[in-house]
Structures are given as C-alpha cells and as structure tokens.
Amino acid sequence: MPRIACLFTPLFPLAARLRSEPELRGEAVAILQGNSNAARVVAAARRARQVGIRPGMSLPQARALLPNLTVRARDMSCEKATQESLLEIAESFSPRVEDAGDGIAYLELDGLDRHFPGDSPEQDLGHALTITTDKAGLTTWVGIASSKLAARVAAELPDSPNRVPAGEEASFLAPLPLRSLAAEFEILDTLERWGIRSVGDFARLPKNEVASRLGETGRQLHEKARGLDSRPLVPYQPPPHFAEGMELEWPLVNLEPFLFVAGAALKRLCQRLESRGLACARLDTSLRLEPDGHHLRTIQLPAPTREAKTLLTLIRLDLEAESPAAPVTGFTIVAHPDRPREAQLSLFGPPALSPDKLATTLARLFALLGPERVGSPRTVNGHRPERSALVEYAPPPPPEVRPEQQVGRGLLAIRTLRPPVPLEVISHLASPREILSILSESSAKRPRIQGRVKVASGPWSMEEEWWSEKPVERDYWDVELAAGGIFRIFFQRATGEWYADGIYD
C-alpha cells in the first residue's frame, strides 16, 4: 500500500481569510455565511471561541458574547486561491496529488523518503510540509498513513505531524464513531440499526456478508473501515493560470485603498509564481462593481516578470487611464504564467542584464511611455530617414570574451527631425539662399531654422515607392547657415514644399 499524507487546514474559511488579511491574526474574528439576520458563524478564531462563539451562531448571538467581535463574510474567491496555494505546495513535494477541497489535499509519498534520509523520514517530511505551508501564510496539520481516511483522521489530531505506522490503520480507526467513515451515506443508518456504533465494530463484520447485504458502496466503506484504500489518488489538474482575489468589506471609491489590498494579493500571486519557477506574462484584473457590474482590464507585459511592485504600478497606471464607473466591491487578479527569461553568466565577457530586472524595467517603461515608444530600434526598407521600426528588446547574450576596443572613425551623425520641419526657402538658380521655419501652433515646439545660407550642396535626388500611387520624390540639400548650423533640407517635388529633416550634429 502506498503511503499517503493528508494536508488539513483547520477552520478553512477563517484560514483563507487570514491569509488575505494577515493583520487580523491574533484578533477575535468570526467568519459568517449568509445574509443579514440569516448569517451564521462558520468559523471563529481562538479568541472568539474562548468566549463561547461557536459555528452555527447568528451574528446577534455572537455579538452578545463579544461586542467588539471582528466579522468577515465568507469569501469564496479567497478560499479558492487558498486551496490552489495548498495544492501547489503539495505538488512541490510529490507529483501525485489529490484535491479533496475545503483545505484538504492528499499526496502520495512513494520515493520521497530518499529526500529525508534521517531516522524518521515520514516525520521529517511532515515537518517540512508544515514549515512550507506556514511560509505561505497557512496553518496546516499533517497526517501520514496508508489510507486516505487514516491520514485524514491523523491530520485532525493535535501535535501535528501524526503518522500511523503501516498496517496499523485498522486498529487506529477502530475507536472512531461510525460517522467518521462518511456522514452522508444511508448505509450508516442501517448499520446503526444493526447496533454497530464504531468503525472497529464495522471492520470486524465478514467482508463477503457486508458486500452481499450492502452492495458495492457497503464493500467500499468496509474496506475503509479496515484501513484499506484500493482507489488511487485522483490526479489534480492545476489551472492554466494563477488567481488571487477577495470580496471587499465595503465598496471602494478611491484608487489608493484598492491598490493597498491589490498589492497584498499581487505579493501572494508572485510568491506562488516563484514557487513554481514561473513569471507573469499577462495580467487580467477583474473588478466587481456596485451594485452589479464588472470592469475587466488586461495588461500584456513586455517580458515575464514576478515583481509585485512593478505589477502594482502597471495596475495603477492602467486604472488611472481607465477608471471603473462604479465603486469596487471585489476583485480577482489573474496571472497568466510563462517561463522567465534566463541568462548565462560569463566569466570574461561583459556582464549580461539580469532577466528579471530587465523584465521589470521594460514593464515600467511600457507603463510610463507606452509600448510604441520603447524597444530595440530596427532599420526599415526605404531611404526616408524619419522612418524607423521598434521591436521587442531582447539583447543577445554578451560575448564570452570582451572584444578589443576599436578606434572610432569619428562619424558625423545627423539628428533626425521627426516629422520634418516645414520651411520657406528663397532660392536663386534653384539653389537655396535663405530659409525660414514656417510658424504654426504645432511648430512652436520645434527647432527654429532660419537665416541666410552660407554654403549649399545639392541637390541629391531621392525617389522611393515610384510604383505606388503616392511616390516620394525629394531633392536633398546640405546647407550651412551664416548664423551657424548645418541642416539637411529637401524639396518635395509632388507638392513643391520645402522641409528640413535633419541637423548635422
């Protein structure tokens, strides 16, 4: 029989809420389910339980016992994210994991003893599981046995981790009440009518007689009672994305308080991504609006990143640009994962940029300037200097050995004017003699180009796209003005207009 560990989160609705709001730890908190007067306590923290608050109480009853009780509504989105987080932790230990819901996960332990070579590998593994879940903000108890039922019962006992030695499952389960097997089966009523009160009593019944009288369901229950578990774990299929969210206690109107709670959710999200060696490539933010509405925003990241601060900045800028139309009552942030970029370090060559840092840098620049204004430049076909192209910045790895410095040629560069500056040109014998920028509202922020031409060199003809309906035909001149400055200007044949498109600098 394979050995199975059960991860059990006591008071799961409360644990999920405390994971989202860690500042509530240590306070008298109760989680309620239902609306207004019909709301009932489903879980209460230790300080609330100490004064007698129990599951099933109404809110007025609980408040009567403890007036300053902190109350939170049961949050299914929090619980879903917490359950996913628990399963991810289980998956980080074993590839065979079953999702049992409500803060319970099973994992098969075959082969894991090699990772814990001490005297009691199962005990060490149990401690490791507890520590890992603690780091993720969850209090989890661990039980280890050869069957799921025995592991589950062991997990619910105090002094976690608890292990049931192999083969002793039946005797371990024997004193338990019959309802421990499964609460919902009608068979249990039949058994009670037979006078069977404990799991041990049931296990002592003859196997074949039970099967003939109670059918397949009865046979399976009988196996469970004997500490046997013939069914393998149901494989857990992780969702293709990571989600975190919560229902807010009251609708938020301003951005800052929302960013405060969203930041905490992003931190948890990035922690989960990091534990899987992944990063966020796309971020979907879904806001639930009052009274009934949704505001969905998608942020495509230039490179996968898992830095919560950067992601929060992106959400801030995105929501500032497009604010929701109504107060926000809840949110879900979904991260679509991708492998982060990797870099190979070099001993003798120049250092490479850190992929994580680069992803963060690009994301911030995208948010600040927009994706069309950041990237790696590329040349485009054609000869018009004002044209250019941008592609995603992904520098190749640096050379293994730093190359020797080359002596520069001292190249005279041209500062391109985008778009070209319109000019008035007085010419003599087709050669420019005096030039003047055409003043307009749009040209107020452009460089002023005016003065007498000292030297003019040209024209240099440039023709492009002669096959299209709007061919580009320009006559270029290099001109030096008497007042200083060397400019590249051109005459557009189609319109008869003059422009400056560069400054020699």
Binding site: L369, Q405, R415, T416
Partner: protein
Amino acid sequence: MALSQALTTTPQKAFEEPEPTARRSSATIGTFRSKLPHHLQSHLNSGREWVQQRTATPLPSPFPTATALDQLLVGGLPQGQLVELIGRQSSGRFSTILASLASATRAGEAAALVDLGDAFDPQLAATAGVDLERLLWARPGHLKQTLISAEVLLAGGFPLVIVDLGNPPVPGGRGVEASWLRLAKAAQSHQAALLVSSPYRVSGTAAAGVVKADYGRALWSGGAPGPSLLVGLSSRLTLQKMRRQQGNRTEVLRLQPPAALIYGTATASIGG
C-alpha cells in the same frame, strides 16, 4: 628587531603628545617604521597614508567613446558618474552619442538611449557601428518622463545610459535640480555610466563632469563656382569641470560623414 623591542625603544614622548601637524605625524610613523623588521615595515601606515592609498585606488574602467571625449575624460565615460555634454546645434553632440553607443554595443554591453528629441535614426546608427540588438531606445515626450525613464534604466542594470535632450526648445525646460541629483545618485549606486547631452547646463551640481562642445565648423570640398560637398565637421571640446581632474582642457573633435552621405543620401546620385 622584534616589534615589542621597537616599541619600547620608541621615545615615550611620541605616545604622550598629540600629533600637532601632519609633518610631525609622518616623522613619528617614519621613526616607528625604521625600527621595525624589514618585512613588517610596509604594514605600518598612518591614517593619512591609508586615506591617500584608498583615494589613489583606480576607479572602475571607464566606457570609451572612441572620440576626443576619451582624451578629456581620461579613458571615457566614468562609471558611476553623470557627465554632461553641452553644445548648440551642429556641435558634434549627437555624433559623440552615436560613437559612445557604437563603442559600448560593439563590446557586447547593453546600452540605453533616452531620446527626448526623437532624433535617432537606426539606419545611420547601424552605419556608425551601433549593434541595434543591444540598444534600448526610449522616446519620452517631455523632460519629466525622460528623467524617470533614465532612472528606471539605471535601476534595471544598464551599464551605459545616454540621455539626449535634443535641441531647444526642450519640452520641460531644465527640470528640477533634485531630479538630476537623484539621477546621479542612481548612476553611482548602480555603477553605470550616465551621459546627458543637452543644449545648455541642466544638471547643476549633480554632474561630475561637464564638457562643452563649441559650434562646429563645417568642412566643404569644392566651392564656387562649382558644386560643394560636405566632407566633415570640426568642433572643439572643452572640459569645464571634472571631479579629481584638471578642468579647462580642450580637444578637437573631427567628424566625417559616412560614405553613403558623401555619395548622396543612401542611394541618391550626385547632382547640382
């Protein structure tokens, strides 16, 4: 002679009196040192000597620009410092930027250009030797975005960040000096070379070095009555300020247009 013996034979006065002057301190250390065994003498230093040794430690190797700027800045753009290059139009500022980018990217380094004037031409840069794959081109709309972009790039680990403010009017004016100080601090903490190219002084006390480029003198071949041809530009670079270096030194910057420009813009033919 043992160390204990050397100490006991030292005049007691040296311990009792505080050191009144640097010369006296140096003499006392010299006395101590002379009494020590030979192999221990180099290990005994005064605080002043220790400071001198520390300050004489060479800074990280600078980024060569492959221009006359290297002579002025003793090897190139210093890492961890802000150098401001000022000059009016046609002074060779943009050519210096392209040369610096070409030099860094050819060496396999990543570089970033924050181009406020949107003046960068990838075709020309490729001709100048810039490895476009290693270059990040950011085109902010005004000075505030420029400063934030540069700071983000420095924090991102780019070893060379060049900020070009273009020609006047600069959108956003000179900016706040505190922003430039913050930028210089970012360059220092990330040990990145930061070059700010501006038509006039903007960074104030934040700049560790200031180089001024004078108006460039165009060099033409031919002339009246025949056609002229632009064959170069000559400018004078003056080091106005540099920490730990002597200022007011000048170098001549000589620039030549690429062959494609001499024989016409890309594929154009000679006319006129």
